[in-house]
């Protein structure tokens, strides 16, 4: 048992029971609120000293960039390299032309995952062309590939380092922790300051965002190599390099393949959002459509993103599974089908060569998808559907929206905004102390005080209100489905495809259905956040409950426990760490989405960041909002991380392993 739970036990021993302490805390908070209501509040100001200081800092940095040669040289070199990487990859994709890209993708898909994956690549890319979104799709793909290339090139070696060296682990893990709770939005500003806007910045931001996954999962894979195998190699006199090359890397191959897969998925999720810093690709189509509220057009672009996500996911996933089966049981089956497989592969290779030849002969024809072919669009039906919903279901959707807004969101928002700021900070600190220990409490208080210092308290409270509401809904729905899925294999099988699909989709896409139903508002952002965060919560709750050892369940059954008793007295208490982790993850994901909801009427911090990019004089506001998001995220994370962080991480890793094994 970890020190954390022992500490928890130690607290149990003190005179006050947790319940009494919570009640006392609650009562005191209410009393203080009633007494000091509307005092010590910090209303929002459009322009503050902090924002001006940030603006000045930016000007200074610009000045330094212009005038100090080493700095400008380094920054220009990085910028130039990424830009070169992006243009080269895009150049190859464009130069190949659509027939060759489709043929090559089909070939790769078939080689990695058989005819299903090949067919998926073929038809999926065909639809991209038919939607007349070929060019933006290739731009998105080019940014993604460029970023992933760098992520993997740096992330995999770093992952190996983290697995091998405790010192590297001690340095890198906290950085990864912070990066992980940073909302996607918060990544932009520092890179914009350093590298400006445009494709190069988009690649850099995407790379930074996706690299932690490469590091973490690689480290997980290397550490997962059985100690006995390493020991055997060492006993035969292997050097460290030999152990790595001949034992660890081969055995971790499948997991590293998975790391690449996850890196790609995260990168794609980020690429779409880089549109706010002028990143190229499908994001542009979506942002334009959002500006004119053409839901049908958003749908087309959203569909294209989903298709790309699915193709990239399946091809890389199958390829990483293949890495594994090649060394083991998969061989026999592969041998049986070898001849026809080779024939198909040969045929596809020939087709690819032919298509490349075609591009060489007729570059203009291969460069653009023919108009008569590129005529698929869902604009009209989707817009019709939206109109129909607005005409016929609005009494429902608007009713729900208004009811939740007036009944829940606004009151919470009002309480938070009318509370003295020190009371909110104190409550946050006290909750962190109760749930996660003293250290977490200190960090929480410092982070919240930082928001006060940034003079964005009021907007942060608005965002916090939405986060709280969305988290409550997410946990309610997620725990319910998770418990059902854990107790019934049928339910588990039924929800699995949805969970899998949800994991592959870029966050941006989730705004869409919410927007269709509820049009821009705070509530819309909350709905999007719920849709976004429920799947991982379901997964964690289910995994946590299913990981409860069979002996314990059996002991309960043998004692004559009912199913409800099993759940209440054994499964839920034993799965407590997993439930805490689910809460923690749920909050962080909700925060990320709520600020993204700044694009669809979510307002507050998210909108501040958007304005920061839109107008130069709002840069300071945007930067402060970005930092506030991170601080809010850190505070929420520390409050909800619970005692025994290590155990939670172990569980996370176990859950990840379960997932790795569950994808045959």
């Amino acid at each position: 048992m970890t020190a954390g739970t022992l500490a928890l036990r130690g607290r149990r021993a003190v005179a006050l029971s947790p319940r009494t302490t919570w009640l006392a805390l609650g009562a005191m908070s209410v009393a203080l609120y009633l007494v000091f209501r509307d005092q010590w509040i910090l209303p929002h100001e459009r322009d503050t000293a902090v924002f001006q200081a940030f603006n000045a800092a930016r000007d200074n940095i610009d000045e330094v960039k212009r005038t100090v040669p080493p700095v400008s040289l380094v920054l220009d070199a990085i910028r130039g390299t990424t830009d070169w990487l992006y243009t080269t990859i895009l150049g190859i994709l464009v130069g190949l032309g659509w027939p060759a890209v489709i043929a090559l993708s089909t070939f790769l898909g078939y080689a990695a995952g058989g005819w299903r994956t090949g067919l998926l690549a073929l038809s999926g890319l065909g639809v991209l062309g038919a939607l007349d979104l070929w060019d933006p799709s290739m731009k998105t793909l080019a940014v993604t590939l460029a970023a992933v290339l760098v992520s993997v090139a740096i992330g995999v070696p770093l992952g190996i380092l983290v697995a091998k060296s405790n010192r590297a682990r001690a340095v890198i893990t906290p950085i990864l922790d912070v990066l992980q709770i940073m909302p996607q939005y918060a990544y932009f500003i520092p890179f914009v300051v350093l590298f400006g806007i445009g494709a190069a910045s988009a690649v850099i931001v995407t790379f930074v965002y996706s690299m932690p996954a490469a590091i973490r999962i690689t480290a997980l894979g290397i550490r997962g190599v059985p100690a006995a195998s390493v020991e055997a190699a060492e006993s035969l006199g292997s050097t460290a390099g030999q152990v790595l090359r001949k034992v660890e890397l081969p055995l971790a191959r499948k997991t590293i393949g998975l790391a690449v897969n996850q890196t790609i998925m995260l990168a794609l999720s980020m690429v779409v959002i880089t549109v706010v810093i002028d990143g190229p690709g499908l994001g542009e189509n979506i942002i334009k459509a959002i500006q004119v509220l053409n839901v049908g057009a958003i749908f087309d672009a959203g569909l294209a993103i989903v298709i790309m996500a699915i193709i990239l996911d399946r091809v890389t996933e199958q390829a990483s599974l293949r890495l594994d089966s090649r060394s083991g049981a998969g061989r026999a089956g592969a041998a049986r089908r070898r001849l026809p497989r080779r024939l198909v592969l040969g045929g596809l290779a020939l087709a690819s060569l032919g298509a490349i030849g075609l591009s060489a002969i007729a570059p203009t024809w291969a460069g653009t998808v023919p108009e008569e072919f590129a005529s698929l669009t869902f604009r009209e039906p989707v817009n019709d559907l939206v109109d129909w919903i607005q005409a016929n279901l609005y009494f429902l959707t608007i009713g729900l929206k208004d009811a939740v807004t007036a009944g829940v969101i606004s009151p919470i928002e009002k309480v938070l905004r009318s509370s003295p700021f020190w009371l909110v900070i104190a409550i946050g600190g006290a909750m962190a102390a109760m749930l996660s220990g003293l250290r977490a409490a200190v960090i929480t208080v410092v982070a919240l005080a930082g928001i006060v210092g940034l003079q964005l308290w009021d907007h942060s409270m608005v965002t916090l209100a939405s986060v709280l509401v969305a988290t409550a809904i997410t946990l309610g729905i997620g725990a319910l489905i998770g418990i059902l899925a854990a107790s019934s294999d049928a339910v588990s099988r039924a929800v699995r495809p949805f969970l899998d699909a949800a994991q592959t989709l870029p966050a941006f896409v989730y705004l869409l259905p919410a927007l269709v139903l509820f049009s821009p508002s705070r509530f819309t952002a909350i709905v999007a956040a719920v849709i976004f965060a429920v799947p991982p919560v379901v997964r964690l709750v289910e995994t946590g409950i299913r990981l409860v050892p069979e002996t314990l369940i059996e002991a309960g059954r043998a004692s004559g426990a009912t199913r409800l008793q099993l759940l209440r007295k054994i499964q839920l208490p034993v799965a407590r760490p997993a439930l805490l982790l689910a809460t923690n993850q749920g909050i962080i994901m909700v925060l990320g989405m709520v600020v993204l909801g700044g694009l669809v009427g979510g307002g507050a911090l998210g909108f501040d960041v958007v304005s920061g990019f839109a107008q130069r004089r709002d840069f300071g506001l945007g930067l402060a909002a970005g930092i506030s998001m991170v601080l809010l995220g850190i505070a929420l994370d520390r409050i909800s991380q619970g005692a025994g962080r290590r155990r939670l991480e172990d569980l996370g890793e176990r859950a990840a392993k379960v997932q790795v094994h569950a994808t045959p």
Binding site: T551, L552, G556, A558, S559, G560, A561, V574
Partner: protein
């Protein structure tokens, strides 16, 4: 005259309860029990497929026969051991008794009540009050204190807090863990954890206790200590116990009756002495080969009929005395040992018989209780 007053486990074997079984009703009666895992299970009743060997059956149906046509009776108050190697079906069998695993075919009777006919509520009632189980990996709840773990079964059946804690406290001292009630399971050693498991099972005052390889996760010294603990508890509380093990020595030490299983079938059933003296086949013979016969068999198994010229003043022992314990008497007296029950002379054991038994020279079929062949030239007295 020597009377050996030693604890029951070490010397005297458990009395043969054949008589009990004939007259009284068995506590548990298993008749023609089958368990099949796999797609073939639902429609297998009466099928000729059941005649197939396990391997053929798996090939033909894709299903596995885990328990095959098992029948036995467990008498009230006895320790009934099911012994077999891993994969022999013993753990499945014991779970079928309380339907933790649903049997495929056959009957399980508890005091004449058909357990397979019980509805869910009745079954729960049986599990709450009549059965209790001790698990190989203890199955203790890590988030509860020891005392709450012991009280768990009582809590499940809805007993008020004060009374269940009082009862749990009593159990705590019964298993020798006074003062540990406030600890958490992971603060205890393996042996102590299993004592908690024992106490939890005892707390509900069940009629039948089921042990699923309870000590195989413990190291040998602790295992022996726990075996003695079970014997002591059995002596004190007199529960009917069904004990699963893969350890022959454990089976022989604890069991009044032992059933040996292999591939889901019962290979042999009998008292420990019967198994050691008369292995039913090579498989069992292989098992018992290394068992010191003199530690298991009693005088009854090696004595010969008394003759006129036997000295009447040799040391006397009861017929159920384990051979090992008379070695000293035989070594210090030059007269043959007289086997006496209720003042009646049943037979005589020569020193040579004892030496032969120690040497393990008792091939299957050589000995029968009360009828021993002449062990060669009798030493002159």
């Amino acid at each position: 005259m020597q009377t050996a007053q030693v604890d029951r486990a070490a010397t005297t074997t458990h009395d043969d309860r054949t008589a009990d079984r004939a007259t009284g009703q068995p506590t548990i009666s298993v008749r023609g029990l089958w368990k099949i895992f796999g797609p073939a299970e639902p429609k297998i009743a009466g099928s000729p497929l059941l005649e197939l060997t396990n391997a053929e059956f798996r090939l033909r149906t894709g299903s596995t026969i885990a328990v095959r046509d098992v029948s036995f009776d467990v008498s009230p108050g006895e320790v009934f051991v099911v012994m077999g190697l891993s994969g022999s079906g013993k753990s499945t069998l014991v779970r079928c008794l309380t339907r933790l695993i649903e049997p495929t075919l056959g009957q399980v009777l508890l005091d004449g009540e058909d357990i397979r006919a019980a509805d869910e509520q009745r079954l729960r009632e049986l599990r709450r009050r009549r059965f209790a189980m001790v698990f190989q990996h203890f199955g203790l709840l890590p988030h509860r204190r020891v005392i709450d773990n012991i009280a768990f079964g009582l809590e499940i059946r809805g007993e008020p807090k004060a009374s269940r804690l009082a009862r749990a406290d009593k159990m705590l001292s019964l298993v020798g863990l006074e003062g540990y009630g406030g600890q958490y399971p992971d603060q205890l050693s393996g042996g102590m954890q299993q004592r908690v498991g024992l106490a939890r099972a005892l707390a509900g005052d069940p009629e039948v206790m089921l042990f699923d390889e309870p000590f195989s996760a413990l190291d040998p010294l602790i295992r022996r200590e726990m075996q003695n603990e079970v014997l002591r508890l059995h002596h004190e509380v007199g529960k009917t116990m069904i004990f699963i093990t893969h350890d022959l020595a454990e089976a022989l030490k604890l069991g009044d009756h032992v059933v040996i299983m292999r591939n889901g079938q019962v290979v042999q059933a009998g008292s420990p002495q019967e198994l050691v003296a008369h292995p039913a086949d090579d498989y069992v013979a292989d098992f018992v080969r290394d068992v010191p016969k003199s530690h298991v068999l009693t005088l009854r198994w090696i004595m010969r009929d008394a003759r006129e010229d036997d000295p009447a003043d040799g040391p006397e022992f009861g017929p159920d005395t384990v051979i090992r314990t008379v070695i000293h008497a035989a070594a210090t007296s030059d007269k043959p040992i007289r086997v006496v029950e209720a003042g009646r002379l049943l037979g005589v054991v020569d020193r040579a018989h004892i030496l032969e038994a120690i040497a393990g020279h008792l091939e299957p079929g050589q000995v029968e209780p009360g009828r021993v062949e002449e062990p060669g030239p009798t030493p002159a007295t």
